[in-house]
Every structure is written in C-alpha cells, then in structure tokens.
Amino acid sequence: MPLTLASTLVQQAHASLNPASPQVRLVDRLGTAMFVTAAVVCLLVFAALLWAALRRRSGAEPVAGGRQERPMKTAVLLATGVTTVILFVFLIFDVSVGRSITTNPGNDALQIRVTGHQWWWEVQYRDSLPKNWATTANEIHVPVGRPVVFELRSTDVIHSFWPPNLSPKRDQIPGNENSLWFQADSAGVYRGQCAEFCGHQHAKMAFLVVAEPADQFEGWLARQRDTAQTPTDSRARRGKDVFMSASCVMCHAISGTSAGSRIGPDLTHLASRRTLAAGTLPNTRENLTGWIVDPQAIKPGVKMPPNQLSGPELLALVAYLETLK
C-alpha cells in the first residue's frame, strides 16, 4: 500500500479479509478453507436432496426394507465418515492456527499498554525508565516488521480490542490483563474498533494503527516522550490559563504542566493526532472547537460535559491546544 497519500484517512478497508499481518493472514487462510469446504459440502447436500426428491416423483414405489435400501445405507455411512474426517481436519487446522498466532514473539518485541475507557483508548509506551514513558490516545504507532505485544486492560466495563487487518480481537476486562501480539507487514494506516458492546458510544470507540518504518517510528516515539511545548504567543498563553482554571484540568493531563489528571485522554501531543474523540472526527480546528463547546451533540453520553466558555476564552483555548504538537 502506498503511503504517499497525504490523506489522514485510512487507506485500507477495515476488514479481516484484507490481511496486513501474519496473524490475520493465517486466520484468513483458515476462514477461506472453511468457507470453500462448507460451500462444496452445501452444494453436494442440495444436489443429493434434489436427486432424492426427483427420484420419488418419477414413479417406482419404494419398497420398505428391500434390497434398494442397501446402497443408500452405504452412501449415508460414507457421508458420515467424510464429515467426521473434515471436521477433524478443521479441528487440527484451527488449533494449529491458534497456536501459531499466540507463540512467544521473542525479546525484541515492543510493549504497548492499551487501556479501554468509555469511550476511548489510552495508549502507553512503557520503558524500564519511567521518564521514557509516553502516553497518548486513540492512535497507536507501530514499527513495520517488528512484533508488538499489547497489554490489554480496562478501567470500567468490558471492551474488545480489534484492528481487523492486523489482529484477531481480544477482550479487555476490568481487573484482568489480556495480551496479544502482531507484526505489521507493510506501512499504512489501519482502523481498529471496540468489538464488545460497552455503552452509548460503543460505535464511536475507534482507533488508528499507524504502521511506519522503524526510524520514522523511533522519531515519533521520541517526540511523544517530550513534555508539552510552552506556548509563545500571547493568545496561546491565555489559552493555557483557561485550560488550567476551567474544568478541562479535572480530567486531562498535559505533561510538563500542572495538569495531571488521568481520567480523560492525555493531551500532551493532541495536535499531532489525526482524529478527535476516538476516531469520530478528523482533527481540525473547526472540529476541535465544536467538540469543546458541545461534545454531547457529537457523541451523546460521552463523559465530557458541555463547556460554557466565552468566545475569546474558547478561541484562546483552541489556539493553545493547537500548539500541542
């Protein structure tokens, strides 16, 4: 897939039939084999049914318990035997696919912790040194060709992590940790979605997986580890004051400032993200402003309350948020 598109949108269909990782390729192969076999069996069954029906119609009273029953008995026994064999072959195929997608990815793997919240994803890149941790939301960058292990958690209800092109789905359960891993084959932007009904905005709980070459990924991660830039122009400085004195600061964190609450998405590098509100809107100034004024009109039930800021305060706040690159 070419990464030359300047578009911020996803370039591939959001579908497991379009694999972009070895894991999904295996599952896709299993699915295709099952579909083709089932289709053939189905056609044979219909053909047999049709044959039986027409045979009755053509006259020839059936003789109960007669010699004619014998070949039928053989046919039924044969069909049962073939069915059993097919099911066993699929059982072995299925278990072997399950085993290969859950093998140990090795020590080289990148660790990412993804926590599901109603209705967004917290993404944390951890490191042996806590000062190197980077926290972001709803956009997961991964290096191409390197295994990535996901630690999956939830803080409220059960969610399910599912980027269909890259991985089978896995539930995120409060108080429990699940994990999975995949390896992106080629660079691209893939869409992921919560796959377990989790409340009002389940449908608008999406995320992007951005697979990029290793050096590009390392550059991105280094930027994400930085603390937020201090605004230089006066309007953005005013916006920072608005952020710190209004209700924003009760839920959102911006590293390098006094905002440190962890119940909403981390905004340290908000302007570097492609979408707002967990894949609901493209990240533009208009959308951001609209979202701050009335999130409930865009995503009813979302935890962020409508804000009653004055015009100048709102513009200053948006100017500040736009500096968070």
Binding site: G175, V249, I263, D294, Q296, G301, P305, P306
Partner: protein, 174 residues
C-alpha cells in the same frame, strides 16, 4: 406491571445535555446556608435534580472516584475528610447543603470546586454522596463498582437518619 415499567423508565432517564443553563439550579446565586459548621438545613431547599435517577447517581459515583473525592473521604468511611456513609452531617444533609459544600468548599480542608466542576456534575456527585448513607431509594442507588469492591454496595446500605452533629474539633473557630 405498567406502573413498574413507568417508574423503571424514569430512573434510567438520560439527558446528556445536563440541566438547562441559567436556571436557579445550575446557578444558585443565593447562599442558603452558612459556610461554617453548625448550620441547619436550608430553609428553602432546592430538591436535588438527580435524587431519583439511577443513571446520574452512577455517573456521580464514577466522578467521585475520578475527581479524587475518595482521596480524602475514602469510599465513604472517611479518613482525612469526614465520613460520608454515616448519619452525622456537619454541614447538613440536604442536597443543597452538599451542593454548596462541593461548590464553595468548607473551612479547614474542603476545597471549592465551583469553578472546576460543572453544576450538572456537582448535582450528580451530590446525589451519589446522599446514596452512600442510604438517603436515596434502593432502586436508584448504585449496585456495581468499576474497581475492587471495598464496601457493601450503596444499594444495600441501610438508611442512616441524618443527625446534625456539633462542630468538630478541627473546625472550631479560634
């Protein structure tokens, strides 16, 4: 059955835009009670808007932990701040008392959150705080916890008849 269904709907009513702005309830201009301890219930108490709304009360429960009320009041048992699950009330048990306690703060510890939490959410937290000592109907009080359960659910808390307690030592004026 019909009555049950109607009551059931009411308790789950969800108005995502919150309370109408500019009304007396979102903008209580007149202080009804003293900010110092020993005051009584407000003479003309505004009934809390969420006293019968289970959804709002569970939102209040989430916010109670999210905004770190639990940092001082713990899960109602108290510690740094006074307990909220018992019958004693220093600043009154009426919804309006609690709203003002959160919005304006109280001497010797309770900070003011009026500028930081929107009125709608303060009312949700107020309703939840009242559920902690069983002051809400059982079918309205929360029956589930997001995290590890550390106390009996609010739903099964016995109603503690509010008592106006005296001035605590920590709040005595010099």
């Amino acid at each position: 059955m019909l009555i049950l269904a109607v009551v059931g709907c009411k308790r789950e009513e969800r108005d995502f835009h919150g309370l109408p702005s500019g009304s007396a309830i979102t903008n209580p201009k007149v202080r009804e009670v003293d900010l110092v301890p020993g005051g009584a219930a407000p003479a003309d108490s505004v009934p809390g808007p969420y006293e019968e709304n289970a959804y709002a009360v569970s939102q209040g429960k989430t916010l109670y932990n999210g905004y770190n009320c639990s940092g001082c009041h713990f899960q109602g048992g108290g510690g740094i701040g006074p307990p909220l699950m018992d019958a004693d009330w220093i600043y009154g048990s009426q919804p309006q008392n609690i709203y003002e306690t959160i919005a304006e703060g109280r001497p010797n510890g309770m900070p003011s959150f009026g500028r930081k939490i929107v009125p709608d959410q303060i009312w949700q937290i107020t309703a939840y705080v009242r559920s902690m000592s069983g002051l809400l109907r059982k079918d309205v009080a929360p029956g589930r916890t997001d995290d590890m359960q550390v106390r009996p659910q609010e739903q099964s808390t016995q109603k503690a008849k509010p008592v106006q307690s005296g001035i605590p030592k920590s709040a005595e004026l010099p």
